[in-house]
C-alpha cells in the first residue's frame, strides 16, 4: 500500500489519474448492480410478506404493496403448532450442533495430534465421500434404518442423529485444521504445569480454538436449521420443523405466498441474531493462525 502511495505521488501527469478514476467508477457501478441482484430476492420476499393474498397472485407483479398487511406476521401463528415448529427446529439444530461440535472436536483433535494412529490419510476421503453422492440417494435407506430404531423417524432424535451425517465430517475437518494451528508445545507446557491431558485440553487448547469452534458451530447450526429434504420425509406428526411448515400455507389450491414469506422472514431471525452476536468471535476465528506465542 505504501508502494501505491509512492507511485501516485510520482505520477505527476494528469492522464493516468483520470484513467484510474474511470476504472473506479466502473467498479463501483458493477458493485451496485451486483448488490441489487443479490438483494432483490430478499426485497421481494419482504414486500410479499406484507401483501394481501390477492395481490400476490396478480399477473403483473407489484413492487410495492398496495395494501400493507402487517397482520400476516400474526396470521402465520393462527395455527399454534406453527410456533412449535420453530421450537422443534431450534431444538434439533442446537442439539445437532452441540453433538457435532463435541464429537468433531474430539475427532479433529485426534486427527490433528495423532494422525498416524487415527488413520489420517483416509479422513479426506471420508469427508469427500459425503459430498460425492446426492443426499437424496441415502434418503430411503436412512428412512428404513431409522424406522426400526425405538424412537422411529418422527422424532427429534432421529433428525439430530441424521444431520450428523453431514455436520460431523465438516466439524471434524475444520476442527482438525484449527487444532493443528494450536502449538503442541502449549499443551506440553500445561502437562508440565501439572494439568492432566483432559484438563490441559480444556484450559489451554480449547480457548485457543474457541473462535474457530464458534464459526464451525454457526455453519452446522445453519445447515440443520434450514434442512428440508430429510425433514420432509422423516417428521411431520409428532415433530415438525419450520421448513416443512412453509409449504402448508395454502388455501385450497391457492398458495398463500404472503404467509409463506412472512413465516420465512420470521425463521430468518434466529440465524441473523446468532450471527450478529457471534460475529466478533468469527472474525477472530479466521485469523487464528496469528495466535502463536
Amino acid at each position: 500500500m505504501t508502494m501505491g502511495e509512492t507511485s501516485s505521488r510520482h505520477a505527476s501527469t494528469a492522464r493516468p489519474k483520470d484513467a484510474w478514476r474511470y476504472v473506479r467508477i466502473l467498479f463501483i457501478a458493477f458493485l451496485v448492480l451486483w448488490l441489487a441482484f443479490t438483494l432483490f430476492p430478499l426485497y421481494f420476499m419482504t414486500i410479499t410478506a406484507f401483501k394481501t393474498a390477492a395481490e400476490t397472485n396478480l399477473t403483473t407483479p407489484t413492487f410495492w404493496p398496495q395494501d400493507w398487511q402487517p397482520a400476516n406476521f400474526l396470521g402465520v401463528f393462527a395455527e399454534r403448532t406453527n410456533f412449535n415448529a420453530l421450537i422443534d427446529s431450534f431444538i434439533i439444530a442446537t442439539c445437532n450442533t452441540a453433538l457435532a461440535l463435541f464429537l468433531g472436536s474430539l475427532a479433529g483433535y485426534a486427527f490433528a495430534r495423532f494422525p498416524r494412529q487415527a488413520g489420517g490419510e483416509n479422513l479426506a476421503f471420508w469427508i469427500l465421500s459425503n459430498r460425492m453422492f446426492p443426499p437424496v440417494a441415502i434418503l430411503v435407506p436412512m428412512f428404513f434404518l431409522f424406522d426400526i430404531t425405538p424412537w422411529g423417524t418422527d422424532s427429534h432424535i432421529s433428525l439430530i442423529l441424521l444431520y450428523l451425517v453431514f455436520n460431523l465430517p465438516l466439524a471434524t475437518w475444520l476442527m482438525m485444521v484449527f487444532f493443528r494451528d494450536a502449538p503442541v508445545e502449549l499443551e506440553e507446557a500445561a502437562y508440565l504445569d501439572g494439568w492432566t491431558p483432559l484438563r490441559a485440553f480444556v484450559k489451554v487448547t480449547l480457548p485457543l480454538v474457541l473462535p474457530g469452534m464458534i464459526s464451525v458451530a454457526m455453519l452446522c447450526w445453519i445447515f440443520a436449521w434450514n434442512e428440508y429434504l430429510f425433514a420432509n420425509l422423516f417428521v411431520g406428526t409428532a415433530v415438525r420443523t419450520y421448513t416443512i411448515v412453509i409449504p402448508t400455507f395454502t388455501h385450497g389450491s391457492q398458495t398463500l405466498w404472503n404467509l409463506q414469506m412472512a413465516f420465512s422472514l420470521i425463521a430468518m431471525i434466529p440465524p441473523v441474531v446468532l450471527f450478529i452476536l457471534l460475529r466478533r468471535y468469527m472474525v477472530r476465528g479466521l485469523s487464528l493462525g496469528v495466535v502463536k506465542g
Partner: protein, 367 residues
Amino acid sequence: MARLEVERICKGWEFPVIDELSFTVEEGEFFVIVGASGIGKTTLLRLISGLETPDAGRVVVGGRDLTGIPPYRRSIAMTFESYALYPHLTVYENMASPLRARRLPVRERDRRILATAKLLRIDHLLERRPGEISGGQKQRTALGRTLVADPEVFLLDEPISHLDAKIRHELRTQFHTLEDLRKVATVYVTHDYAEALSLGDRIGVMGAGGKLVQIGAPRDLFERPQTLAVAEHLGQPTINVIPARIIDDDGPCLQSEEGTLRLPVTDFARPLLEKLQGRQVILGLRPQYLRPGHDDTRGLTLRADIDIYEPLGTLGIMLVRCEGVRMTAVTDPEMTYHSGETVTLTLDLDQLFYFDAVTEKNLAVGD
C-alpha cells in the same frame, strides 16, 4: 528436593538420537548440557520431563523411578525454547497455571507469584498478555512460570539464546543469583559454550551419536578436554588443530604433517607421547596462546605471514601461515595489521594439547 539420575537412557526414531546416556545431577546442582544445534539436547530434556517415552533406560528423581509416570504427575518444570506461553492468558495467569493445577489456596498463590515476579522484574507486567511484551520479558515470564511451581527438577531449554546480547548478559547474571534455581537439581541446555562455562557447576558435552562425551567442571572441560571434539566445541575462535609426527632430530621433536613447523617436546609432553599408539599425534592450540609479540619466557617465538586480519569486536582475529601451517591467532582489536605482513608470534608451549591421532583422546587425561 531430590537428585536426578538418568540411567542408560535411549531414544531413537529412524536412527538413534540418544544412546545409552547417563548422568546424575545432585540436589542443588546446576548441570549444563552443551552441544551443537540439532544434536538431541531437547529430546533429552523431553525424555526427562516425560513428554517423550524412552526406548530403554530410566529416569530417577529422589530415588523414585519415573518410568511410566506421565509428565503431569512428575515434579519437573521445564522452559521451552519457544517460551510456550499461553497467548490467551495474562502474565499473571500464565504464572498461576502450575499453582492452579495443584489447587493452591488463592492467597498463597498470589504471594508466590508476586514474589517471583518481583525477583524477575516483571511485576509491572502481570496484567499484560504475551503478545504485548518483549522477548526478554517473555523469557522471564516463562522462567517465572517454572520457578513458582517449586519443582524437584528444573529443565531449561536454551532459555536465553534467542535474546539480545545485553539481555542475555543480564539474565545470565540472574541465573547465578536465583536462589530457587540453585537449591534444586537443574538441567540447562545450550549450544553456547560460554554460557555453559559461566553457569554450570558441572557440564556435560553432548557429541554426535547421542552420548555425553565428557562430564566435568567448567575448568576441567576447558583446560583438560578428554577428546579433540570437546576441545573443538569449547572456545572461540576454534582451537588450532595441527596433525604432527614424532621424529628424532637430536632427541624427539614434533614435525607438522603439513608444512615445516617443528616444535620441541616439553618435559610435560615427553611421558605422554610414549603412550601414543603410532608415531602420529594431533596438537591442539587455543588461538589465545598464539599471540603477536616476542616473549621468550612464555614459549616459542615464530615468524608468520598474515593471510587475513580482522578486528572482530572484542578480539582481533589473525589467520596466519607459520612455516606452512595454517593457524589462527588472536590480538587486541585496537591493533592494525595488514594481509601479507609478516609478524612475530609467541606460541605458549605449556598450553598445547596432545591428542592421539587414532582415538582423538587427550593423552594427558586418563580415562
